[in-house]
Amino acid sequence: MKHHTHLMIGLFIVTGLLMIGAIVLALGVAPDPVNLATPTERFAQRIFYFHVPNWWVGFLAYLVAAVAGALYLISRQERWDAVGVSSIEVGLTFNTIGLISGSIWAKPTWNTWWTWEPRLTTAAIGWLMYVGYLILRSAIENPQRRARFAAVFSILAFLDVPVIFLAIRWWRTIHPVVIGAEGGQGVGGFALGPTIQLVFFFCLVAFTLLYVTLMLVRLRTEFLSQRVERLRQHLMFR
């Protein structure tokens, strides 16, 4: 336990330093993209260094939850349920931040807080789906049944995300496609220079590490609460 605590503290420090580095690099070091006309747009663009890694983490968290769900259904081990719920809670936090930060960026760039664009809409529906996941969990008392239902739901929801995205994308799109496209398409799109790329990938690593850290902390809480529950039952039904 003590050994673990040391590792955790080490991880906290590394993650903290990387996150500070990410802020400095994104706001201070990274150059302005060349093709954005107004200062407001250039300023707002810097959200990109947090917004995109933020979404990546959200996606990663939901993926981890779906895999944990499958592992639970196969192995029936309580710990996979703990991984599932922890990952979804962390993912939902990032998902929420992503929706809000995206909205703040959209206002100066697209001149609206909200638009029914594929990524936004998918994010919003995904958010609703995973809030539903938490409501589902809270409505079940039997821990095994809760774990089973949660596992089934997290797998179905995750498989549904690309389908929802595809459907909404066909509906219509104005979101900029920055990575893997020439010069940035869509309103508010921009080109990625070498420094911008470097800073971006630094932020990506920092955010991924942040996810791992939060996940471990949350997981520890979950394991502890499972232990408390076991002890409580042990005392009550001795």
Partner: protein, 233 residues
């Protein structure tokens, strides 16, 4: 016929059954009494393949419950404290539906036979919601007997029955046709437990704490034992 060995069931970290071992031979009628939350219904649900044991083994006629649940289901008839019937369907419709699920040969004849036996013929076209509680319980027994199972599980079948209806039920359960089956019945009622069973067992806190044969059962002894164990829990 029913062989239960070291049966354990946990809901999460809560142990409901803590190692139950019970042997019931073919044709025996065993009653199981215990306070609320003792694990009676959980035990019945496991025997009926509705719930998986956490540990331990159950053999029904030599067939392992968890390994071949389909075969076990053919051997079991369950009467629960709920009717397992559809209120909006008639008695006949209910039985015909379940007969199809159990692959009963000549379902119409079998259903009529059972309805007559249970004294429900004449009301067979009426929806179950219009039946009295006693009639519903008799129909539930008919449902459980459709496929002629060698084992009958009765989970608090006397719930909600008045004294007269319960006596009718008791008489029905001791009919010769039913008597050939292996029966395990749970109940709250010590009087019925003593009068109907050939053997009575007391289940408290997930353990069988007391067993006695009919020849030695009298209601007063059973009650004394029950009070002793239930209050110490």
């Amino acid at each position: 016929m029913i062989e239960i060995r070291g049966l354990v069931k946990a809901f999460g970290s809560r142990l409901v059954l803590r190692g139950i071992t019970l042997h019931i031979s073919a044709g025996e009628f065993v009653t199981l009494v215990g306070p609320n939350g003792a694990g009676k219904t959980t035990l019945m649900r496991i025997l009926a393949t509705l719930s998986r044991p956490t540990a331990g083994q159950v053999l029904l006629g030599g067939c392992d419950l968890t390994q071949d649940p389909m075969r076990a289901r053919h051997m079991i008839g369950l009467v629960s404290h709920r009717t397992l019937l559809y209120d909006d369907l008639s008695g006949e419709q209910n039985l015909l539906f379940y007969a199809q699920l159990y692959d009963v040969t000549r379902p119409k004849m079998r259903v009529e036979e059972l309805l007559r036996q249970m004294g429900l013929w004449g009301r067979q076209r009426d929806p179950v919601s219009t039946y009295s509680r006693g009639m519903q319980q008799r129909l539930a027994i008919a449902r459980a007997l459709l496929h002629n199972p060698p084992i009958l599980l009765l989970d608090e079948p006397d719930t909600g029955l008045d004294r007269h209806a319960a006596m009718t039920l008791g008489a029905l359960l001791r009919q010769t046709d039913l008597g050939r089956r292996t029966v395990l019945m749970t109940t709250h009622n010590l009087e019925y437990a003593a009068a109907w069973g050939e053997r009575a067992a007391i289940l408290v806190n997930g353990r069988i704490v007391f067993q006695v044969n009919r020849s030695k059962i009298d209601l007063a002894t059973l009650r004394a034992q029950y009070d002793h164990y239930a209050s110490s829990a």
